[in-house]
Symmetry: C2
Subunit: 394 residues, 2 copies
């Protein structure tokens, strides 16, 4: 047995979170794609079967009240809140991340006022945020200015309405400095909006602590909500009364069953709703969030960094120097919960890894992406992944 294998065993033995793996359905593969689709929490199938057979099949329409369907978007939002450092009452779950980016950006422009005619958006971001930001700018008559996160402080001005940034870059795994960039936006009078898709559930976010104004995120990566599970929208409490949604559907009305022809927005997080909530997916997500019971995000972050550190060490040991280039920052303060390695034949290499039971993903054109979910990935998994990678890179 190699030194790294022995060390992996030692790290697993010392891992306080190791037993959480039992809360998931897993097999012999090393699953390093939880940053694309989280694994299935073991109790979700049973809970969803009950939702379908009893709540829908037997209670039917009564479940909107009796089974708590109607209030699920805010209830599930309050389950996500502690994972991203938010007090209750500020997060609503529903729609896709893209739709929530649109709501939040248009609302931000309206809150910022007519003097501020520019939106700054992360040019390195997951593209949908940029596409949606361009649409929000077009519809509100603002100018969209793509910048790298490093350029943000210099680009901020009295013209800036809002800044939309990704907390962790989906491709490189780079973690951006949320406290500093939020403070910089505020110093220029702009609103700070963050996309948490690749950070929530993997590291502390601290939305309230750092005064973030608006945030969105998906729930199917580190939150394990299932394929395409609904996204969420955070609106800081102080801003909720001024949140003027471009999608004022009946579910966000102060009296949704009054069926009034005039729109009157509800107070609080409810204002971020649009249409009828997607109950099956929402309640599958609610059940999935049970895996976080008793889990500290600080401990998750510590393990995440230990996993990625160890992966880098194993890759260095098992791979010919220069065969791959790590594009994820080495500094902990700049690293999310993934490692992205660049190599020219990344697409083919990833196919071979998957065939050998090491599941990461390929991102165009030349990135091997490995996500480390501390709730169910262990150190022996990491050693094996790096070893198989080394063998396939020969």
């Amino acid at each position: 047995m190699s030194e790294l294998t022995l060390h992996a065993e030692k790290l697993d033995a010392e891992d306080e979170l190791a037993s959480l793996r039992d809360r998931f359905v897993l097999d012999d593969a090393v699953y390093l794609d939880g940053n694309s689709l989280g694994a299935l929490p073991a109790h979700v199938p049973g809970r969803l079967a009950d939702v379908v057979r009893r709540e829908w099949g037997e209670l039917r329409i009564r479940s909107w009240e009796e089974s708590g369907w109607w209030t699920a978007p805010e209830r599930v939002g309050d389950r996500i809140a502690p994972l991203v450092g938010a007090a209750p009452g500020q997060i609503v779950v529903g729609d896709s991340t893209s739709v929530n980016v649109f709501k939040a950006l248009v609302a931000a422009v309206r809150m910022a006022g007519d003097d501020r005619d520019e939106l700054l958006v992360d040019a390195t971001t997951f593209p949908t945020d940029g596409y949606i930001a361009a649409s929000a700018a077009r519809l509100t008559g603002r100018t969209l200015r793509p910048v790298t996160p490093a350029e943000v402080p210099g680009a901020l001005s009295r013209r800036t309405a809002a800044v939309l940034l990704n907390h962790v870059d989906y491709r490189t795994g780079r973690l951006h400095d949320l406290p500093a960039l939020t403070a910089a936006a505020h110093a220029s009078g702009a609103l700070a909006m963050w996309d948490l898709c690749h950070s929530a559930g993997a590291l502390p976010v601290g939305l309230d602590e750092h005064g973030v104004d608006l945030a969105v995120g998906c729930t199917y990566k580190y939150l394990n909500g299932g394929p395409g599970s609904p996204a969420y929208l955070y609106v800081r409490e102080e801003l909720q009364d001024r949140f003027d949604s471009p999608l004022p559907g009946w579910n966000s009305h102060a009296e949704p069953f009054g069926m009034s022809p005039d729109y009157a927005p509800a107070p609080g997080a409810v204002r971020g709703r649009v249409g009828t909530p997607d109950i099956l997916s929402l309640l599958a997500l609610e059940a999935a969030l049970d895996v976080w019971d008793g889990v500290s995000v600080t401990a998750v972050r510590a393990k995440s960094l230990a996993l990625t550190d160890f992966f880098l060490r194993c890759v260095a040991a098992y791979t010919e120097p220069g065969r791959v280039e790590c594009v994820t920052p080495e500094r902990h303060a700049e690293r999310g919960s993934q490692i992205a390695l660049r190599c020219p034949d990344a697409g083919q290499v990833m196919k071979r890894l998957i065939a050998r039971g090491v599941v990461g993903d390929f991102r165009h054109p030349d990135i091997l992406r490995f996500g480390f979910t501390p709730l169910y990935v262990g150190f022996r998994d990491v050693e094996r992944a790096a070893r198989v990678l080394g063998e396939e890179l020969v």
Copy 2:
């Protein structure tokens, strides 16, 4: 046994669709709320369990390709298409009805051009359409003009960009003249958009035949997709290349995995997508649509009218004259698949009916609403509902 009971038995015996009831999970209640939430199709729990346990739990990320997740929005759209008289390739499933109304109205304004500065919207419609239309008008600098469907022909002008109407009114059950109103809109050069929430699955719609431009609808009423199941968007084939969505999320990109910073819309129905599709709900809906195998919408419509005719006859027989007022039109050409009865104490009456196993719903301020789903409601159900109603109205 009363004459009406005997007649109900005769009608049930002659009903060609009677056996379809076995495709649903039902109990001893008379469920006349399928126009709010359709009953559970019997095979959906098994199919959804497989999606969760095998496709998500075992195949995980591979299912996007291997289980056909990625193409589900258009595949399920093509399952809905024959029910609303559409050729394949024009319907995409996803998001809520409200979000789809927004996409379609903003796209309609853009297609209509700058000279047309007015949107006509059904003033009697389900309120969310009006709220969303007001937002679309505000963001595109158009004027919103609420009119009753009867006023539409007189209100159309060279200023009209688009007309948004409900095919069946959610409150009164009135069926509007889709062919004539669509033709009137076209005669003035406006686009015709229809909300099919209360007609799809209950009666023939004929989108292609009548040249409808845009349509939206939910899938949780007569299509039995489950609570809050995803809605759909129809864009007539000839208009798809000009469909300029205000929600251009990455799923609608011509090359979604190219991750290009520049947006290039996909051709066809895919262009109506936004973010990652909600797979659990989408595949539950796909399974639910199996109940339509071998079922003709014409036969469904014939039974729907027979059910509502018989209900009105039984109500007349069992209820003191003048105790309720029927607000649903008597003429078949103007009637959807529901009967709405007005009485001052409707809220209390509906509570008593539900307690006695006759489930309809109450719509503010004074409407008893009874929906008739021909796939699982029979004539003895109808007689019993009217009899219990008569007893409770004494």
